[in-house]
């Protein structure tokens, strides 16, 4: 019986000739990731370990991104705890204010994630690196602690759903619309415990930033990971960003899938997920006349350079509607700088938007754009759960940067064509 792409990576990392869905394995890890919320819990757990030390100082990444620059005293204490741990163990890849970015935009940019890697991260959106052909999945703080100490993690080998991507998207359709469409189709638990394997001729029509967005939201369908084949574009990205050697795995022709779907990019329209689940999707032309209060363009899902370029194209020479707060958050320092050099930040500021330092901030209701009772926000983030961005009576509408920017101009949920 053939193996899926994910199963092949896991078999290699477990030192086994083959694995089957449902099998329990112990795999070697190439990278263990944590942030300023999850790492303190993991560090506390590590203190309980009888054995001292970490498995490899270059294979742990600690990124201060959720509540930094510190929003309050308690957050500052958390970061201090992680900073001291990183210093004590001489962890190479510790990213603090000045060097940090939102972890899932930062690590590929720094070349720390490449094809064939097995990566765990104490953050649910760790599945992002599947865009490069890596197996990466979110875990909790205890798994992170065990991973930092031993360099290993146990996994149940997942079965998979295959998404055959065909066609070419129209001008305003991006990776965000693709993944929202898929989540709307299969539901928030449609891929529970499973791999989402993307394949097909249409993938060459998706930029790397589109692919990062799609893999990033695999967790919003309950998926264990989302993964793309390694093509020339992915190889070029890795060569540009990383000195590490990568390894390409391909699914066997006779690999077994629980389900198969075909997604024709040419038929997709800009898509919006209504409150309070990412599966509540409608195309933007079905959204109706909904007045909004805030727009957020950023996050590990949509804070990359392509995303900012698209938002700037829409906002260029226009004004954010009176009464709308439009918050733009480049995901990393490098993206921030590139956006500045391209003149995108000028476009945002002249349009009446604000530009923030990289942070997860409002996406999880941390700070930098908390919603009041009854307020509505169009956001390029990944979750629209009750209370996610503020008051339990506030509402989040998930959309692409193009739709978010267009909505900022009109003050209601709008198609970019408007």
């Amino acid at each position: 019986m053939g193996m899926t792409m994910t199963q092949k990576i896991l078999a290699a990392a477990a030192g086994l000739p083959e694995v089957k869905a449902g099998q329990l394995i112990e795999a070697d890890l190439d990278l263990v990731l944590g942030n300023d919320i999850t790492s303190p819990v993991a560090i506390h757990e590590m203190d309980k370990f009888a054995a001292e030390g970490i498995f490899h100082k270059d294979k742990i990444a600690l990124v201060m991104d959720h509540f930094v620059p510190n929003k309050d005293i308690k957050s500052a204490q958390h970061c201090k705890c992680v900073r001291e741990f990183a210093c004590k163990h001489e962890i190479t890849n510790f990213f603090d204010v000045g060097e940090m970015g939102i972890e899932h935009a930062l690590l590929p940019e720094k070349g720390l994630t490449v094809a064939g890697d097995v990566i765990i991260g104490a953050d649910s959106h760790t599945c992002t690196y599947g865009a490069l052909g890596a197996f990466s999945t979110g875990v909790g703080s205890t798994d992170m602690a065990a991973g930092m100490a031993t360099g290993k993690a146990w996994f149940k080998v997942p079965s998979a759903i295959k998404f055959n991507i065909i066609g070419k998207p129209s001008r305003w359709v991006s990776g965000k619309d693709v993944i929202l469409h898929i989540i709307g189709m299969i539901g928030v638990d449609g891929a529970l415990y499973k791999s989402m394997e993307f394949t097909g001729d249409g993938i060459c029509n998706l930029s790397m930033d589109d692919r990062f967005t799609i893999a990033n939201m695999a967790i919003e369908a309950g998926g264990k990971n989302g993964i793309f084949p390694v093509d020339d574009l992915a190889a070029a990205y890795m060569k540009e960003h990383s000195a590490r050697e990568y390894k390409v795995y391909e699914a066997d022709a006779d690999a077994e899938y629980d389900e198969e779907y075909t997604v024709d990019l040419s038929t997709l329209k800009p898509t919006v997920a209504f409150p309070h689940l990412p599966e509540n999707t409608r195309t933007v032309d079905e959204a109706g006349d909904l007045a909004i209060d805030q727009v957020v363009i950023g996050s590990c899902t949509n804070g990359r350079l392509d995303d900012l370029r698209i938002a700037a194209q829409v906002l260029k020479g226009k004004k954010v509607a009176k009464g709308i707060r439009c918050i733009v958050i480049p995901a990393t320092q490098r993206i921030y700088l590139e956006a500045m050099e391209e003149g995108l930040l000028r476009t945002f500021i002249e349009a009446g938007a604000i530009v923030s330092t990289p942070t997860c901030g409002p996406c999880l209701g941390g700070y930098m754009g908390i919603l009041a009772e009854g307020e509505r926000c169009v956001s390029t983030t990944n979750r629209n759960f009750v209370g996610r961005m503020g008051h339990v009576e506030s509402e989040i509408y998930l959309a692409s940067p193009a739709v978010a920017a267009a909505s900022a101009i009109t003050g209601r949920i709008s198609a970019p064509e408007e």
Binding site: D143, L192, Y193, I219, G222
Partner: protein, 161 residues
């Protein structure tokens, strides 16, 4: 090992943001987290919950963020077991790793209502609804999992091994 108490019942897709909102994640103290447990889905939960009580929910319990603070808050609030039709996978792993007993059992999720008195026998996997006089067969906890729970989590269990 047994769990016994009154049931708090919830529906589908209870996410970790409503279990413990991110505005409280500037703390990792279990007691402090427990004070805000379920706050955005059930404001009365923390006032009503007693040690030993159970949470029963429908599908995909614990979806969303990987925050281990979610099972930590539930456990520190005194909850002895969570029963659901299905769990989101990161929550499932985290719950076991911190020693919070959880059981997937669709029949029990459907046959138990808020306020029912329920007993769970981890050795046999039998869930008894004492209020309605019905029983359900959940999966028994393997010995190692019972040991993780008794050790108050994976790390202590590894140390004791």
């Amino acid at each position: 090992m047994k769990a016994s108490g009154t049931v708090f019942k919830y529906g589908d897709n209870v996410d970790t943001d409503v279990i413990i909102p991110a505005r409280y994640l500037n703390s990792s103290d279990p007691k402090e987290l427990a004070e805000h447990c379920m706050e955005d889905i059930d404001k009365e939960f923390v006032n009503k919950v007693k040690t030993g009580d159970l949470i029963v929910a429908d599908k995909n319990f614990g979806c969303g963020s990987s925050r281990e603070h979610a099972p930590i808050a539930i456990k520190a609030a005194g909850v002895s077991c969570v029963i659901a039709e299905t769990f989101a996978r990161i929550f499932y792993r985290n719950a076991i790793n911190i020693g919070l007993p959880i059981i997937e059992c669709p029949e029990a999720a459907r046959g138990i209502a808020a306020g029912d008195e329920v007993e769970v026998d981890f050795d046999s996997g039998i869930i008894t609804n004492k209020t309605k006089g019905t029983t359900f067969q959940g999966q028994a906890f393997p010995e190692f999992m019972q040991k993780i729970i008794k050790s108050e989590g994976l790390i202590n269990y590894i140390n004791h091994k």
